[in-house]
Amino acid sequence: MPEKTLDLIEPETSVKILKLTGQRSLRKRILDMGLTPGTKVEVMRRAPLGDPVEFKIKGYNLSLRKKEAQTVLVETVE
C-alpha cells in the first residue's frame, strides 16, 4: 500500500500509523495521545471549514490540524 500523510486521507477511511516525522516535542505529544506506530486510525470528518480533522483512535475521538496530521505517515488498510 502506498504511504501517505494523515492529512491527505479522505474521511471514512481507516489507516495504520507507520511513523511520526515531526519535531521531537510534537512527536512526543502525539505519541502520548496514543498514536503509536501500528495503531489503527479512522478518519471521521473534517471541520465545516475544512480544518481541523477528527479521528477515532483507541476508541476515542481526537482532532488535529492538517499541519499536525501532516507529520503522521500512514498506510491505508482494508
Binding site: 502520548d32 503509536t36 471541520a47 465545516p48 471549514l49 475544512g50 480544518d51 482532532s63
Partner: protein, 673 residues
Amino acid sequence: MTKKITVALAGNPNVGKTSVFNAITGSRQHVGNWPGVTVERKMGKRVYKNTEMEIVDLPGTYSLTTYSLDEIIARDFLIEEKPDIVVQVIDATNLERNLYLSTQLMELGVKLVIALNMKDLALAKGNRIDEEKIQEFLDVPVIPTIASKGTGIERLLDAVIEEASKARKNDDPLSYDEATEGMVHELEVILKSDQYFAHYPSRWFSIKLLEGDENIIKKAQESKKYTQIREILRKTDEDNFETKIADQRYSTIQAMLRQVCDINTSQLSGSDMVDRVVTNKLLGIPIFLALMWAAFELTFTFATPFMNMIDIFFGWLAGATAEVISTEWLASLVGDGIIAGIGSVLIFLPNILLLFFMLSLMEDSGYMARAAFIMDRVMGRIGLHGKSFIPLIMGFGCNVPAIMATRTIEDPRDRLITILVAPFISCGARLPVYVLLAGAFFGRDAGIVIFGLYALGILVAVLSAKLMRTTVLRGEDAPFIMELPDYRLPTLKGSFIHMWERAKIYLKKAGGIILIGVVGVWLLASIPAPGSGGVFGSEEIYGSTDSLVGVIGHLIEPLVAPLGFDWRIAVALVFGIVAKEIVVGSMGVLYGAGEDEQNLSNILAAGAMTPLAGLGLMVFTLLYVPCFACIGVIKRETGSWKWTLFQLVYGTGLAWVFAFTLYQIGSRIGFLT
C-alpha cells in the same frame, strides 16, 4: 487524634475529575493559582473516619512530560510536594489512553489509587470490565465510581486511607525491552552515585532521560556526573527512544486489557451520531451560531433586569445615606465614592453568574470542544486556538466575564493574547455612548456608524492578535491536539459550583481594584484645585473645572486637542474609566445639560463639537483604557501588572493614533466638519 494526609487528584481531562473532587469535598473548596503561574489550583478538605484529607486537584493531563505547563505543574507537585497518595480518576469508557497516564504515575513511584469513573456509561456501552483483575495486574486498588451521582466515593476514601497507611512499594509493574532496561540500569547506577539526584525516583528519571525530556536533561546538566550521562544518552540519539517507550507502554496496556475487559467497539457511539449533525459540514456552523446567540441572549438579556435592580438599589442607597450624613464631603465620599464603587463591582455579578453557568453547561456536556473544532480554522488564521472564539464573542456583552472565560484556553500565550485583545470587542456599556453621539451627529445614519464601530473593534482585535503573535508574543503556534470527549449530561450541581467559584474569584480578586479605582476618581473629582477656594467634597466642586480632575482635564487638553477634544471631553474620558457609559453622564454635567440626554444631544448637535470630533470620540471610547472592572480582571487573569499596563498603554495609544489620524485628515479635507 485525627491523622492528616494530602491526596492529589490526577487524571486525563474530561474524565469526571472535577465531579470526584466536588463529591469528596462538597463546598469546602478553595480556588487559587499555582505559584508563579495563572493555572488554577483547587484545594479542598474532607474529614473522613478520623482522617483529615487535604485534596489537591492537579491539572487534567494526558501524560507527564514537559511540553505543556499543566503537565509540568502536575509533575512538579508530585515530585516536590510528595503527596501521601495520588488518586487517578479514570474514564472507564476510555481505558487504554487513561491507563497510559497510570503507567507514568507508577513510574514516578507514587502511591496510587484508581477511581474507575463513568462506570455507568461503560456498562451502557456494553463494555465489561473486571476491576479485580486490573487491580491484580497493576497492583493498585481500583474502585468503581459514578462521580456525578456520588456513587463509590466512600469506598474510594476507604481505599485511600488504607493505602496511605501502607508502606510505599518500589517495584514498577511495567518493564521495557532488554535494550531499554539495560540503559535504564546503567543510568540508574550513575544517578544513585550522586546525592544531587537523591530527590528523584531514579528509575523514572532514567526513563525520562531516555525519552529526551528537556526539563529533566536540564536538571541533569547541573550534576557533576553529566558527562557520564551524556555518554550513555549519545548512544540513543538515533534510536527514537520516545517512540519505543510510548509504544511499549501502550502495548503493555493493550495486553492487559485483552485479559481484563471486553470492549464493545462494533457500533457507532451515541456521541458519533450527535456529531454527525453538530459538526456537519452544512449544519455545523449554523448550529454553533444559534447556540452562541442563545447563550449570549440568555446571559445578557436575562441579566439586564437584575443589573437595573442593582443600579437602582445602589443609586437609592447612595442618595439615602447622603441625606443622613450631614457633613457634605463625607456624604459625597460615602455616596458617590464607596457606595457607587461597591455598586460598580456588583453590577457585573448577574453577567458573570449567568455566563459561567452557560459556559459550564457547554464545557461539561462536551460541546465546548466541538465549538473549538468548528471555529479553529478562523482563529488559526490569526495564530490563536479555536477555544479563543467564545470568550471574544462574549465580549460583545461584557468584557469582564469574557476575560474570565479565557480560562478554558490551555496554551498560556494564546490565553494572554486573547485577554489583551478582548477589551477591543465593543461591550454593552459602550453602546450608550455611541447611541448618544451618533444620534446627535449622524441622525438617520447613526445605525451605520455604530455598526462601523463594532466592526472596527473586531478588526483591531484581530489585527492586534496577529501583531502580538509576530512581535511581543512571538513563537511557534501551539500544536492543536484536542480530544472531542463523548457528550455527557451535565449536572446542575456541578454548574452551580462552577458559577459560584467564578463569582467568588471576581469579588475577591477584582473587586478591590475596582473599588480603589472608583474611590480614586471620586477623590480627583472632589478635591478642589489649589487656589480655587472651593470646598472639598462639595457639589459645586465635584467634577467641575475647579476640581483636581478639572485641572487634569486642562492639563491633558493639549494632548487631546489634536483629536478635536477640549478639557471637558478629557474629564469625561477620565470618568469613563469607572465605567464607559459614564462618559455620557459626565458630558451632560460638563456641557451644562444636566441629566437630560436629549438636551445634551441638542447642545452637541448645535455645534459644541464637530461631527468629525464626535466620531473621533466614539473611536477613542471604543479603544482606550477599559473600565476598572476590566482592568481588575486583566490583572487577576494575567497575574501581571506589566501585561495589564501593556494593555492600557497599547489600547490608549491606538485610540489616540486612530482619533488623531481621523481628525487631522478629516479636517484637512473638510470631511464632517
